[in-house]
Symmetry: C2
Subunit: 348 residues, 2 copies
Amino acid sequence: MIPRRSQRTGVITILDVARHAGVAPSTVSYVLSGKRTISAGTRARVLASIRTLNYHPHAGARALASNRANVIALVLPLRAGMHVPVVMQFAVSVVTTAREFDQDVLLMTADEGPDGLRRMDASALVDGLILMDVELNDARIPLLCELDRPSVLIGFPAEPDGLTCVDLDFYRAGQVCVEHLARLGHREVALIGAPRAVYERGTGFARRTMTGFLDLAATLNLAADAGPCEEDPVAVEQRVGEVLARRPSLTGLVVHNEAVVDQLLAALLAHGRRVPEDVSVVAICPDGLALRATPALTSVLIPAEEVGTQAVRLLMRKLAGEAVPDSSLLPPRLTVRDSTAAAPLPAR
Amino acid sequence: MIPRRSQRTGVITILDVARHAGVAPSTVSYVLSGKRTISAGTRARVLASIRTLNYHPHAGARALASNRANVIALVLPLRAGMHVPVVMQFAVSVVTTAREFDQDVLLMTADEGPDGLRRMDASALVDGLILMDVELNDARIPLLCELDRPSVLIGFPAEPDGLTCVDLDFYRAGQVCVEHLARLGHREVALIGAPRAVYERGTGFARRTMTGFLDLAATLNLAADAGPCEEDPVAVEQRVGEVLARRPSLTGLVVHNEAVVDQLLAALLAHGRRVPEDVSVVAICPDGLALRATPALTSVLIPAEEVGTQAVRLLMRKLAGEAVPDSSLLPPRLTVRDSTAAAPLPAR
DNA sequence: CGCGATGATCGAAGCGCTTCGACTGCCGAG
DNA sequence: CTCGGCAGTCGAAGCGCTTCGATCATCGCG
């Protein structure tokens, strides 16, 4: 009576595949999910039918029946002062890795606020969440605990207990930079940081780097300054001026602000400081940026790709019901290039 | 016998709402969709129940029953040489606008290739697509025509017939820059463009700008050059050197490459050219960048937000079955700031 | 030679929603 | 009054998939 093809012409359903392969729909489903043993012959036949019919399961139907949407949310607040290209490296890595697990990625910006998270949860649109740019005291976190969807944070809040967090170990990164400079004999160093807004917001990675930097400098008895830096050339110029005025014999600089790297080098030159002869510079940034600078910068890599991949892997394991470590801190790796050298002998 | 609450405890269904409000499930559905008249009283009662129970319809179930997922795909290839922050402005605008239409946004990178598009289509995960960074001869386009999902392109391919495209009118933008310079009396001008890879890929916006620039320059009898420019400081320096060597009396410069704006200004200074006294500079870039430069740049704004919004609106109309214009070219608007001035008198 | 175990497959019952036709009062026109 | 029509609501039939028994051979073993 009713024709078996639905009104949206050309839509292949599991029933079409089943008929084509001469099996029951459930068998097709089991072939696809592997949740029951299927004989090799049948499996092959079904897979062939799937291929020739170009069958793709209806995402909504699957989500309804299985309680799994195979979609994860990427919550990506784009806040002032953050370096967008780096953020996108994370995002791309998340999407790519998610696809390896047959998941798609839903993009959420922060504009929706907590209601957005609640909606995701209740509507079962996504199975889990990955949150980026976590603040030390992030408003999303209490909410996140209410929901029973698994989530992974890229970055660390002040109270990471019970949450799954991944990030570069920025505290160590700050230390590693100091360590490298100290080993080269530098005794007076400064950190040029992210824009002020980033610190004021309480963004973990910025503060941690600074703390690591200052802590180890103190331990090693180095004279050290650290402060934010805005992104326009004038501000950079000015900031360098300040730093050099306060510490005329400064020889080591750490920069943790992707946007100002080139400008910083220019400003040093403008102040008559050669890199690395007079001042050594260590950057914390993606390799691409460090390599493109002149001179190529000694740097601690921000392993965006690895962090993104890791975040997805952890989320998948949580979705599968496995236990996962609360926090994964990736160890920083410093690559020596042309911007650091032994400290010049102090002028007499 | 079977308890009426599903195993996932705490999940509120339309049935719960119906019972709470003392109506049939279908009535709740009609309240939500507005597809049938519901008396004010009932509507109010239902809405109240929805609120107190904090009900959100199950996305999968809705997609299954209504053939609409309320999700759109944003296909965002991240290719070499593109300026990520600008791209993200588009993306954010798309997400924000989509939410106004109660749609969510699925993020696709290019890595999946054509199969990704096919999968989106067949699995009914998304209702429509927005494609970014369209190339003149984009491989995704023939495929797009096969699918019967509505789509909107941000950017223009070589053959836009039958496709819905939105973008800034880059051809006009190139012209507007020349026009402005010509009006100020400049007779010798050059365009500093995007990295070579962008042109070679056949990215429409880059080529169109260049063509508009050269066409109007020819018409107005200006001496004009145009060429790509890589993103590192050394390349910029070198490029500026070349241009000035070839055209020592050049006084007008258009830059269409967000990444090199600051470096370009520095390079001009290094070559002893003051801006705007010796050389006038017009940029094609977001306002933020133009304002932050020193001096603040006369610029043609890239209206990322408007383009994104427009793209979503068009897609929504197509989804609703309305006819929409094939191409929407937003007119460029030039804002005069401090980087352009009347051409200096030719040296005698 | 019979019987429980095992492997492979099927059928049917939902998952939570939308939508279509049917039903019920109630109003105004005849 | 009576009855067609309409506003407002209900019930039930799916949407395409997963999953849980149930079924049916087949097989090893006592």
